[in-house]
Assembly symmetry: C2
């Protein structure tokens, strides 16, 4: 049984707490947050604390706080040579204070307060600065997910950046579609099956193969009509840039 301490109380921390709680291979020794109120409702399930000098012994300390706070929190830890990892996609393992053994435990998914997450389908990207720590980190990851992967810092940075494209930027395209349909009194809901199918398609096919539409066909008539329809300059700019991006990709 591997023991962990969770530090932080944001979305990732909450989802990790829930996932580890249901695992029989990991025990949560303690949950730390600088403000106790956020985690107070869990006090009957787990040892909670807001005093960093009060941290108990554990195999792994999981720091799930905002990117900017990781370095400082890690340097406040009142012990040395223990195994400390953070959960960020974009922070280096070297940003953790070097008095402890360091690593990264990055779950590549979007977490929100309300939505429940099936953690078994969340890829967890792992990195340790010391080779001997890897197997233990992997054991913790496989306790909650069936997809774990050793990923170095450059690869993790690339994944985090790519995640912004497929998550935040894609969601913004949904938002623009929402604005376009609303401006004509059409229902955004009618696009939802298409949104799902587009995401489903690239589970099996490469995005290159999955592409269709006027830009790929270089259908100038439709492109021109679309640009005429767009009265928002910002939407127009997005349309032009993404159309030329598709043309570049498909050699038009």
């Amino acid at each position: 049984m591997i023991s962990v301490v969770i530090l932080g109380a944001g979305n990732v921390a909450h989802h990790l707490y829930k996932a580890f709680s249901s695992s029989e291979k990991v025990t949560i020794k303690q949950w730390y947050n600088r403000s106790l109120s956020t985690i107070e409702s869990f006090k009957n399930e787990v040892d909670i604390t807001d005093d960093i000098n009060n941290l108990v012994q554990a195999d792994i300390y999981l720091i799930a706080v905002s990117d900017d706070a990781i370095g400082e929190l890690s340097s406040q830890l009142p012990f040395e040579n223990r195994f400390v990892v953070h959960t960020s996609g974009s922070v280096s393992a070297y940003d953790l204070d070097k008095k402890n053994r360091r690593g990264v435990f990055y779950p590549l998914q979007t977490f929100s307060k309300s939505a429940t997450v099936d953690f078994s389908q969340v890829p967890i990207c792992l990195e340790t600065l010391m080779r001997k720590d890897y197997s233990q980190l992997k054991e913790v990851a496989t306790a909650i997910s069936s997809i774990t992967k050793r990923v170095n810092s450059d690869q993790r940075a690339a994944l985090h950046l790519a995640a912004v494209f497929v998550n935040n930027f894609t969601n913004q395209l949904y938002r623009v579609a929402h604005e376009i349909t609303e401006s004509q009194g059409a229902e955004f809901d009618l696009l939802k099956p298409l949104i799902l199918e587009t995401a489903n398609k690239v589970q099996e096919h490469s995005p290159y193969k999955a592409q269709t539409g006027p830009a790929k066909r270089n259908d100038k008539k439709t492109i021109k009509r679309h640009l005429k329809l767009l009265d928002n300059d910002h939407h127009k700019e997005l349309y032009k840039l993404l159309t030329s991006s598709i043309k570049n990709t498909h050699g038009r």
Copy 2:
């Protein structure tokens, strides 16, 4: 039992043929295509023809050919005052020859040769120029889909344009993510659960509410680091434009 004739043999025509074939409320009287070879394999199931003067009588003629060919094909039809619809998202109902009663039967989904489509979940946008034709068109639509909607030409044009954003443009963002991960030897596959979750999230929440990430938080440090990581100018331009689009939406 409503009778239809399908004209054309592209992806939409094939998927419509399959959907109507399995419906007990619609009978396919005939399948026309200017080249017989594409539909020859169906000759034991349905009357096929490549002679437009040989078209049989039916309640509805469904023209599922490329946008540019719709007008001409409709004017070649050797009859008058019958009910003729096209299946395009971006062509006006008025582009059909006015010698017949006109309408639109637009299935809002992406169709490819290989992928099977659950037509019951495909929204079908309906329009008729004559009010009395609507109920029959709706009957044909509900025979294969549980989502049908009366949509005027402006609304349909907006939906078709918005579909380009949520389908073609989103897929291109997946492609860029593929390029970014590959350039660092990271696995695009690790992004697939996130791609699905992003699409799933807006089934329940508005894209506005679903948004997260550095652009929404105006996290300048991460944005700067991402821009530094992008060595492809085109990717950089997309990153900048979509980041500023998110900032606009969320008042940053």
